[in-house]
Amino acid sequence: MKHRRILLVVILLAGILLPVMAADPPHATKATDVEYKQVAEPFIGTSVRVQGMGGAGLGVKGYHDSFLFNPANLAGSGFKLSLPSITVTAFNPKKILESGAIDEFEKGGDAGMISGAQKLLGVIGKGYGDFLTTDVSTTFTLGGFGLSLQMQERMMTYKAGADLTGTNLIAQLTAAVTLGFGMRINAVPNILSIDLGLNVQAVYKTYLTALTASPIISKWMEGEGKFEELKPLLLNETPLVAGWAVPISIGANFNFPYGLSLSAVARNINGNYTMTTYGSLNDWGETLLKKRFTEDAPKNSAILEEGWTMESPWSLDFGFTWAPTFLGNIIKPTIAIDVVDVMAMGGKQADELTQSFLEQTRLGASVRLLSMFDVRYGLNQGYQSIGVGFDLLVFHIDAAYYTLNYGSGLASKESLDALSLRFSIGSR
């Protein structure tokens, strides 16, 4: 009975991992195809700290992941080791709580599980969105050098209509290694110092063909409810897209007295991915690892399309940060104002320019108390965010509730709220 329950939930919820549209290639799989727009987004990983501050923090130093947002933050960063950091983000938490899905899951039994899964998927709205992300990372900095290993699982959604069965779910797995170096130049002693930094990131991204509930249910019925019958679909029949990029980020901080600094970061230079569409996970394994994961005979060609380019444009961000140190460790406020992708404002005038400026601006503030507690607040394109952090020796816990815009411009009001929880050991 327990297995059956699990299976039912797998079908309705986790079953989304099983794309089953392999029967009739060629598939729409590229970022230029409507369902896949989000796969081309540059990879940066989820920072609960930054999200709690409204997405701002280009010039905020002192955290193990600061250099991932601005390589210049490596200058004088000293030794830091985060081992590991785990972040889980659930999207639509408010709607999930209101949907009654949790109550249904608590009831248990087949009916509760099915109803809970149905209500959980029912919160996914029309357009683009995310469902769940999990980030795992390890970061090390020393003497101006920084190294970070990151892995992220991201479940994206795209829904063209209102019906639950029309929800496209795209599972993406990204692995990245970032190597950075930063140095400080004391341009005018006690007046101005300049931090310069460079990050080189090697990113490997994979995602599975989008799928909807209908083919999953269909294949499940074909397999008479046996999970094993779905396995070949996942491993052998579903096209998988994988590819790499080596984006570069260059950053600079101009540090002034009283904790004031100005930052500039050119990120995702050379960010285009070289992608290959494989016939399945088995075909990917055979091509790259010389290993198939199941005995099934190939269903598709091993490589459906090789060496195509997925464009991911670079951007130029500016930041202003005020992080005074004269108050010591009792209370340490930070204010950060970032203007991201400033080139998006190009050619705009008057009201349109004002609106574009607000869209590109991230505002954040945090207060650190007794070197132990952080309280954060921010505005990301006008959407509020809150966050808290707690450090005790080597253990760190952060939480943030925030809203992200998925529409074209903040005024589209196409947004999703998200709740992130992070746990890490080592340096904060």
Binding site: L121, A162, D163, L379, I386, R422
Partner: protein, 475 residues
């Protein structure tokens, strides 16, 4: 150290607390999160919610049916604006012209941009409910009449032999719209739909004419399959707009079903004999009925007036029927040309969103339009009396004890003899409807349903027996 362990466990403890807390706490937490919702820039008036797309779309629609978009005509004039000669019927003084290609593209772009935004879609729907001027009403009235005449003329051009290009003729015939009555209110939505249908038929005629071979219109399609794709795009876009206007696009059919109970019932029925399969017990489907019923009644546009569920004005019923006709007609148009051009595998992402409920929406449109084609007044009465007698359909208040109440129809309604009196005696016509359901389901539905339909329609299937019962030749 113990304190450290507690702190390490704080994340999972918090998470578990969150997901296992009782309803009140969950609700309280959701309320707390709600304090951080909204957008302070928009709420504070610093930025206006984006209405650029909807403004562009409504501005374009407001220009339809007047000025250069319309043509003054008189009875017995012969016009060729739709691509085929049509004689102006009695009483028609103005006709909306098919738009030039550039204007069609602009209208589609404006609408598509609007429909990409949930907020703007809602705004557009409100705008499209607004009544239009008498001048534009006359244009819509005239266009519907000429549009229907154009379809008749096109069918003739496609061959006088009923079997020549039968599939094309059947599909085109379903594009016909209900005539506008003197007391009908015409809205911006009506104008838009009529313009899109006008563009669709004009583009279809243009393409058929362009690719025609020696055998005239309807020939040469096999050699020009790629040229049929724009017709499919037009048709699916028109179907998408009709679906939005009808309200069907906003219904989450699958999400409203009580899946847990339905699956449980399926399991039960699979364990019992086939003889029991026909038993319908409301109690088994209470959840689904209560969720979907009110949504459907709302989609039908009916209201409870003096204790009776009905359409407030005749025009409301006509609008409901017109959107259903346009949805069905445009969808069948797309399917027919997709079949002709071997494009059935390319129907996704061309306007209309296909999902597990598309076949249901199509079937609703088929039932409603067939009933209306049989006898509009009776159809209004049948739907009204059925819902009034079973009010729980509209209120979503069915319980396990609720019983179906047979509505009392007028004796002369003849609903019992619907099959015979309507004259659905063409098995191929009905088979085509099932084939369409299968094709729609093939795009994004459950494969087993397609297999079942295929089996039903096959040589050894039960179609003939079922059809004979439908038309009153029961075995």
């Amino acid at each position: 150290m113990k304190r450290h362990i507690v702190l390490v466990l704080l994340v999972p403890i918090l998470a578990l607390t969150l997901i296992s807390c009782d309803g009140d706490v969950s609700s309280g937490f959701a309320k707390f999160l709600g304090n951080f919702g909204g957008n302070v820039y928009i709420d504070g008036g610093l930025v206006e919610a984006n209405k650029a797309d909807v403004k562009a779309a409504t501005s374009t629609i407001a220009g339809l049916g007047i000025g250069e978009g319309a043509k003054t005509v008189k009875e017995d004039d012969v016009i060729n604006d739709f691509g085929i000669n049509v004689t102006i019927p009695d009483g028609v003084t103005s006709v909306m012209k098919p738009q030039p290609k550039a204007d069609q593209d602009k209208l589609k772009d404006d609408l598509a941009s609007t429909l990409n935004s949930t907020q703007q879609t809602a705004e557009l729907k409100e705008e499209l409910k607004k009544p239009v001027s008498d001048e534009r009403k006359e244009a819509v009235k005239g266009t519907v009449a000429v549009f229907n005449s154009t379809i008749e003329a096109l069918k003739k051009e496609l061959g006088s032999d009923p079997n020549t290009n039968k599939d094309l003729k059947d599909a085109i015939d379903k594009l016909k719209l209900d005539e506008v009555g003197p007391g009908d209110t015409i809205t911006e939505g009506d104008v838009l739909l009529v313009q899109l249908m006008t563009n669709l038929i004009s583009n279809t005629i243009g393409t058929l004419d362009e690719v025609k071979g020696a055998d005239g219109l309807g020939s040469g399609l096999d050699d020009n399959k790629d040229k049929l794709l724009p017709i499919i795009n037009d048709a699916l876009f028109t179907a998408q707009i009709a679906e939005e206007l009808s309200g069907a696009a906003g219904i989450d059919f699958s999400g409203q079903l009580d899946l847990a109970n339905l699956l449980s019932e399926m399991n039960k029925s699979s364990r019992t004999s086939r003889d029991d399969d026909d038993d319908f017990d409301i109690a088994d489907f209470v959840g689904s009925i209560n969720n979907l019923g009110p949504e459907l009644v709302k989609m039908f546009g009916m209201k409870k007036i003096s204790g009776v569920y009905r359409w407030e004005k005749d025009g409301d019923y006509r609008q409901f029927i017109n959107t259903q006709q346009a949805y069905r007609g445009a969808l069948e148009h797309a399917l027919t040309f997709a079949e002709k051009g071997s494009h059935l595998g390319k129907l996704k992402n061309r306007g209309l969103a296909f999902d597990g409920s598309s076949a249901i929406k199509y079937l609703i449109a088929v039932v409603v339009t067939e009933l209306n084609a049989w006898e509009p007044e009776n159809t209004k009465s049948i739907i009204s009396k059925t819902i009034t007698a079973n009010e729980w359909l509209a209120t979503g208040a069915a319980t396990a004890d609720t019983e179906w109440v047979e509505p009392v129809f007028d004796e002369d309604a003849g609903f019992e003899d619907f099959g015979k009196s309507y004259g659905i005696d063409d098995a191929d016509y009905v088979k085509q409807i099932f084939t369409n359901v299968k094709r729609i389901n093939d795009v994004a539905g459950i494969k087993q349903l397609s297999d079942l339909i295929e089996e039903f329609l096959g040589v050894d299937g039960d179609f003939d027996e079922w059809f004979n019962e439908l038309i009153g030749k029961g075995v």
